[in-house]
Symmetry: C2
Subunit: 139 residues, 2 copies
DNA sequence: TCCTACAATGGACTGCGTCTAAGTCAAGAT
DNA sequence: ATCTTGACTTAGACGCAGTCCATTGTAGGA
């Protein structure tokens, strides 16, 4: 039983087979999957699971902060189950893979008050872009 | 005549009425428009301009580095003509407006070699998120 | 076991963007 | 000034990611 499922149960979630499978897919693997990839893996265990349910479940997990949604350019969003630890992302411009990285310092502190224009700034995302080793050698 | 058009001409671009209008729309106003907003404004001057042309022209400007494409979550991409000066973005979580901001320090330097995993890191985007003054008071 | 509110289904639908085939036109050649 | 040609534009079909909705199913309490 995963920690993720424990935490969901504590929030009073009804524990359905679909939610269990989606949570297991996210929990098992620490790559960053798209919603369709999550659906495909979930369907291996529970063939009749629908896309809408996967979207709903992912959306709920995101809204309670168990999972982070990573929007990469024009492509599909990816879902990052590593929400408990502050981190940023390194995206390959060639193939779209994402790695978690941990820069030094606090990026929020780099934005002076004079540059905040009255906004209540609550979060900062840093995305590093480049080519992964495979895409570098593939040219 | 805008600087932008000058630079495009120097690259051997055929100067069509459509491209001129798209460049003028971007050049005139320094808010960050979506492709459809660019199309709407361009169509005020050149009613028969097509969406495809606006997308093509924007894409070409992005690929030669005259304009920056800003992907904001699930919504439409926005286009930022302020490509000549390094800057980052401050996005309102309520209404989606974007402001250019200038944080202190070099965010690329914050990523140590041990966190680069063999990637050739070439760029970094920093997106600050929060609520703008209007959305704060609107609750 | 039965009830009921919550969850899942699947198919239609929307928004954003891309593609294609055919027509048009800017700009160099004559 | 006119011709020529290949780059550009057009309209609309298409595709993907994601949402919505009416219906059906079911977890978990009484």
């Amino acid at each position: 039983m995963s920690d993720l499922l424990e935490r969901l149960r504590e929030r009073g979630w009804r524990l359905t087979a679909q939610r269990r499978v989606v949570a297991e897919v996210l929990d098992g693997d620490h790559v960053h999957l798209t919603a369709d990839e999550v659906h495909a893996r979930a369907a291996r265990r529970l063939p009749e699971i629908s896309r809408a349910t996967v979207y709903n479940t992912l959306g709920e997990m995101v809204s309670i902060g168990e999972v982070i949604e990573v929007a990469t350019d024009g492509r599909a969003k990816r879902y990052d189950p590593n929400a408990h630890r502050a981190h940023q992302h390194l995206v390959c411009a060639g193939c779209g893979t994402i790695r978690d990285v941990h820069p030094t310092g606090d990026p929020l502190a780099a934005l002076p008050d004079t540059e905040r224009f009255g906004f209540a700034v609550s979060a900062v995302e840093v995305t590093y872009r480049g080519l992964c080793p495979d895409c570098r050698s593939a040219g």
